[in-house]
């Protein structure tokens, strides 16, 4: 019963969560890995997930934490280089010029701002939900989003005429 519910939940959310992880900066392969790890953690505590007022918020929280953990491990393993590598998405053969611009602009954001943008504008969380997912005050969410939007608006990788949300 409990596993069936888990199966249904995963079937319904898998693609969106993987794509969200890609927008956070993972390669598609890493993204599936991160989401799989996060959902496995959720399954271990599934009874707790089910009891949560907002099941998605719980899962999103675990996803964000898993992503941060994984990145941190990568940073520790990696030797710093002078040049930043291109983001994973920019290598996708089908990427259009717009897509590359978006990837670069997202990559230029700080980690917390990028997470905020993905939660708000891709996973469609409200600011209140985001505060709960990120474990920060609603004011912090607001300021992260606002700084992120300002940065995206000023980013030369995105054509300013096409970003009406900054004006």
């Amino acid at each position: 019963m409990r596993d069936d519910e888990f199966g249904e939940y995963v079937a319904a959310r898998w693609s969106r969560l993987v794509r969200a992880a890609v927008l956070l900066g993972c390669t598609p392969h890493e993204a599936e890995d991160v989401v799989q790890t996060a959902l496995t953690r959720c399954l271990v505590k599934w009874s707790k997930v089910q009891r949560a007022d907002d099941r998605d918020a719980y899962v999103h929280r675990i996803l964000v934490n898993t992503f941060i953990d994984q990145r941190r491990r990568m940073w520790r393993r990696e030797v710093p280089t002078e040049q930043l590598p291109d983001t994973a998405l920019a290598d996708v053969a089908t990427a259009t010029v717009d897509a590359v611009g978006l990837d670069r602009a997202l990559a230029a954001l700080g980690r917390d701002q990028r997470i905020a943008v993905v939660l708000r504008y891709y996973l469609d969380l409200t600011e209140v939900q985001m505060a709960s997912v990120l474990g920060v005050a609603p004011g912090t969410v607001k300021s992260r989003l606002s700084r992120a939007l300002t940065a995206l608006g000023a980013d030369s990788n995105l054509n300013p005429q096409e970003i009406p949300w900054t004006t």
Binding site: D3, F6, G7, V10, A11, W14, S15, V18, R19, V22, L23, P28, E32, Q36, T37, L39, T40, R41, L43, V44, K45, S47, K48, R61, N65, I68, D69, L89, V92, T94, D98, A99, L102, D103, R111, D112, V117, V118, Y121, Y122, D124, L134, G135, V136, A137, L149, L152, E162, I163, P164, W165
Partner: protein, 269 residues
């Protein structure tokens, strides 16, 4: 704002995503659970022999609680992969497995570490090195200073308080369990790290943790173990300290144990 929605949506819309590996996830959880069950069974066997030792070690109380090692281990008490739980009573926090315990100099963490039951420390202001994360676990019968302004929330059914992050440091206090967790970081993303560490606090359902012994005498500590339903095996070591003090435990303070487990307690003789 719709444009950013659309931009992100279109960016990944065509990304091929494989089928969810549900079976692999279930298998991973099953493996973890069977590990827990094996550990639980081993503990049950140990108790039969260790119960006698426990009585010998603490014979002033004739009627110890029966060990309850036969209770099935609760699967949700397992920490996430790559983490271990450490705590006080049944309140625990998940820390990465490679973290040390009490890696401090005069109380200042020198590398990623749990700080628990430190006892007496020297008085000196040693600056914290960069990129060091720590979690301090303490028993507190009183509200920590300033806690009246902390936000209240419910943690696995327990009322709890959480402080805002100030100077890369924040705390969670669980009054009902008298448990105070304080996370601190000197990493570049200190505030987020602190928040994330504190998110790893949970209340165990079927396990407890090895209690602290700093400055406790043997009998007081053995009484505590007995209260928690833990058995004790006492090893006496001749050291140049006062007789009858607890010197060490195995498993270490704060480790997760099941009721009925035997704790090896080294005391000065």
């Amino acid at each position: 704002m719709d444009d950013l929605n659309t931009l992100l949506e279109e960016r990944v819309a065509d990304l091929p995503v494989g089928a969810p590996p549900i079976d692999a996830m279930r298998a991973a959880v099953r493996r973890r659970r069977s590990r827990m069950t094996v550990l639980g069974a081993a503990a049950a066997v140990v108790v039969v022999t260790a119960g006698v030792v426990a009585l010998d070690a603490f014979d002033s109380t004739p009627d110890p609680k029966p060990p309850v090692a036969s209770d099935p281990p609760v699967a949700t008490d397992a920490p996430p992969a790559g983490y271990r739980y450490v705590g006080i009573g049944n309140a625990v926090i998940a820390v990465p497995e490679d973290w040390g315990t009490n890696d401090t100099e005069c109380g200042t963490p020198m590398s990623d570490t749990v700080v628990i039951d430190q006892g007496v420390i020297c008085m000196a202001l040693i600056p914290r090195p960069a990129s060091v994360e720590s979690v301090e676990i303490a028993a507190s019968r009183i509200m920590p200073p300033g806690a009246e302004t902390w936000s209240t929330f419910e943690l696995d059914g327990q009322p709890a308080l959480r402080s805002p992050v100030k100077q890369s440091r924040a705390s969670v206090f669980i009054p009902g369990l008298r448990a105070l967790f304080t996370a601190e970081s000197s990493s570049a993303d200190a505030d987020a790290t602190v928040e994330r560490l504190l998110d790893g606090i949970t209340i165990l359902q079927g396990h407890t943790t090895v209690p602290g012994y700093a400055l406790l005498e043997r009998d007081a500590y053995l009484a505590q173990l007995q209260e928690l339903g833990l058995a004790a095996e006492v090893v006496v070591e001749d050291r140049k300290v006062g007789k009858g003090f607890v010197l060490a435990t195995d498993p270490a303070v704060g480790s997760v144990v099941s009721p009925g487990d035997t704790i090896t307690v080294t005391v000065s003789g």
